[in-house]
C-alpha cells in the first residue's frame, strides 16, 4: 500500500516536473517564434514624384519602391497603386491589394471597376465591394502634397 502511494506520488511528481520543464523551455521558444506578430510595421511617407506629373490621372497605375527594415536586411520593397486626381488638390490612391485574400486587383476601363483575378471580386470606383467574397472595400491610402510632391503613406 505504502509502495503504491509512493509510486503514485512519483508519477505525479514526474508529470509535474515534466510540465515545468516544458513551460520553462516552451514559453521563451514560443515567444521567440511569434514575436514578429507583435511588431508594428513602421509607417512612412513615400515620395511618388511631382503631383503635376499625375495631374488629371484617372485610376492610373503607379509602381514605386521604398526601403524598409526587413529582419536583418534593409530591403527595397515594391508597391503598386491606382492614383486618381479628384481635383481641388484632392487625390484618391487605392491599394491594389484585394481585401479578400491579397491578390492584386486590375482597373477595367470598360466596366469602370476593379477586378480581382483570383476569386472574382469586383470593386466600384470608390473601392466598395460590388460582387464576390471580399469582406471589406479596397484600402484607400493616406495622401498628402507637399512642395508640389505627392506622398503616399506606407504602413
Amino acid at each position: 500500500m505504502e509502495k503504491k502511494s509512493r509510486r503514485s506520488f512519483l508519477e505525479l511528481a514526474t508529470a509535474f516536473i515534466g510540465g515545468i520543464l516544458g513551460l520553462a523551455a516552451g514559453i521563451p521558444l514560443i515567444g521567440f517564434a511569434i514575436s514578429p506578430a507583435f511588431k508594428k510595421a513602421e509607417s512612412k511617407w513615400v515620395d511618388l514624384g511631382l503631383a503635376d506629373r499625375l495631374k488629371n490621372s484617372r485610376f492610373k497605375k503607379v509602381d514605386y519602391t521604398f526601403t524598409r527594415k526587413d529582419g536583418w536586411v534593409q530591403a527595397t520593397k515594391k508597391r503598386s497603386v491606382y492614383v486618381t486626381d479628384v481635383g481641388n488638390g484632392e487625390w484618391n490612391i487605392f491599394s491594389r491589394t484585394c481585401s479578400h485574400l491579397g491578390c492584386l486587383v486590375r482597373w477595367d476601363e470598360k466596366q469602370e471597376s476593379f477586378l480581382c483575378p483570383c476569386h472574382g471580386a469586383i470593386f466600384d470606383q470608390t473601392g466598395a465591394v460590388v460582387a464576390g467574397p471580399p469582406p471589406e472595400p479596397l484600402e484607400k491610402l493616406e495622401v498628402k502634397v507637399e512642395a508640389g510632391i505627392l506622398y503616399v503613406k506606407e504602413t
Partner: protein, 411 residues
Amino acid sequence: MEGRKDGRWEGWRVFVRERLPLEAVDAHLRKPLPKHINLLFSLGSLAMFLLMLQAVTGAFLAFYYSPSPEHAHNAVTYISTEVPFGAFVRGLHHWGASAMVIIVVLHLLRVVLYSSYKAPRELTWIFGVLLLLVVLGFGFTGYLLPWDEKAYWATVVGVEIASTAPGLGDFVAKVMRGGTEIGAVTLSRFYALHTIWLPWLAFGLVGVHLFFVRYYGSSGKPENTPEEMKTGKPFYPDQVFEDVVGMLILFVALAAVALFVPVPLEDVADPTNADYDPRPEWYFLFLFQLLKYFQGPFEIIGTFVIPTVGMLLLLFLPFLDRSERAVLWKRPIALTVTSVCVIGIVTLTILGGTSKKLETTEATVQETTQPAEQTQDAVTPETEAVEEGEEVFDFQLTEEEIENAVDVGTE
C-alpha cells in the same frame, strides 16, 4: 454531476485503450531495473534530453537564420540583439552543445567504469560511439553557421585536417567545402548537414541504441547477481523520476548560463585577416594541440593516424577487451589505458586552451581598392622585404636608355 464527469472520462479511457496498446507500453515501462542503479545511470537520459533540447532550440533558431555569407552574421546578430528571447534561445543552443559533449563523454566513461560494453551489449556500445561522432559532427558543422572569424578559421583548419587523409583526402576536403575554398556553398552544405542530415542520423542511431538498451536491459553494476539483475526498482516511475529531476537541474544550470553568459560572436569572417589566431571550440582543443607535435612528414600522424586509430579502437573496444566483466579499478589494463587517455586529452585541452597567441610586429598594409597597375606602382624595391646580402636593383631606365631601346626596336 460528478458521476456524469466520471462516465465521460471512462468513455475516453476506453476509447484510447481500445485503439492504442497502452497496457503493453505501461507494462514495458514498469519493467524492473537491476539493483544498485545509481545516479550515473541517468547520464544516458540526460544526453537524450540535451539532444531533444538542441533539436528544439535549433528548429526555432532556424526561423531567423539565413545560410549565406551575406546574411548569416547579420541574422545571428539580429537573433541575439533584436528578437525577444533571442539571446536566451541562442545561449541554450550554444551552451547546450558544450553540455552535450560533456554529458555524452561522461556517459561513455560510466559504461567503461562498469564495463557495460561487454557481451551481449557490444552493439549498444558501437551505436553509442557512432552517436559520439555525430555529436562532434554537430559541433563542427554548427560553429561555421554564425560566419564570424572563429567560424571561418576553425572550418578552414578542420577541412585542411581532412585533406591530409591519404588517397581521398583532397577529394573529401573539396566535397566538404563544395569547391576549392570556403564560401557560400560550404556554408549552405554545413547548414544542411547540421539541420537535416545529422539530426536524421542522430535520431536513427538513438532509436537503435535505445532499442538495444531496452532489449538487453540495463547493464547494472558488474557485481549484480543474476537475481539482482531483475529485482530492482521499476524504470517508471522510479528511474524516470530521477531522470527528470536531473533534467530539471541541468536545464536550470543551462538557462542560468544562457541568461548570464553572452554567446560570443566575433567580427564577420574575413579571409584576409592574418591577425586572427584561430582556435577551435574547447572540445576540439586536444586535437588542435596534438597537431603541434607532429611536424613535416609526420603531420599525418596527428591529423589522421591518431584520430582514426583512436576512434577505431574505441569503436571496437568490446572485442578488444576480453577480460571478465568487473568494475574499472579491478581491471588494471583497462584502468591504465582509460587513465592515460583521459589525462592525455584533458592535458592537451588545457595546453591548447592556454597556449599563447602569436605576437607579431608585421607592418600594416594600406587597404586599397585601386586598380592593379596603380597598386603595382606603389610597390618599389625599397618597400619590399629584402634578405640580407641580396642586391636591390633599380629598374628605372634613364631617358638615354629609353631612347637607345626605341632605336634598337626601329632598326
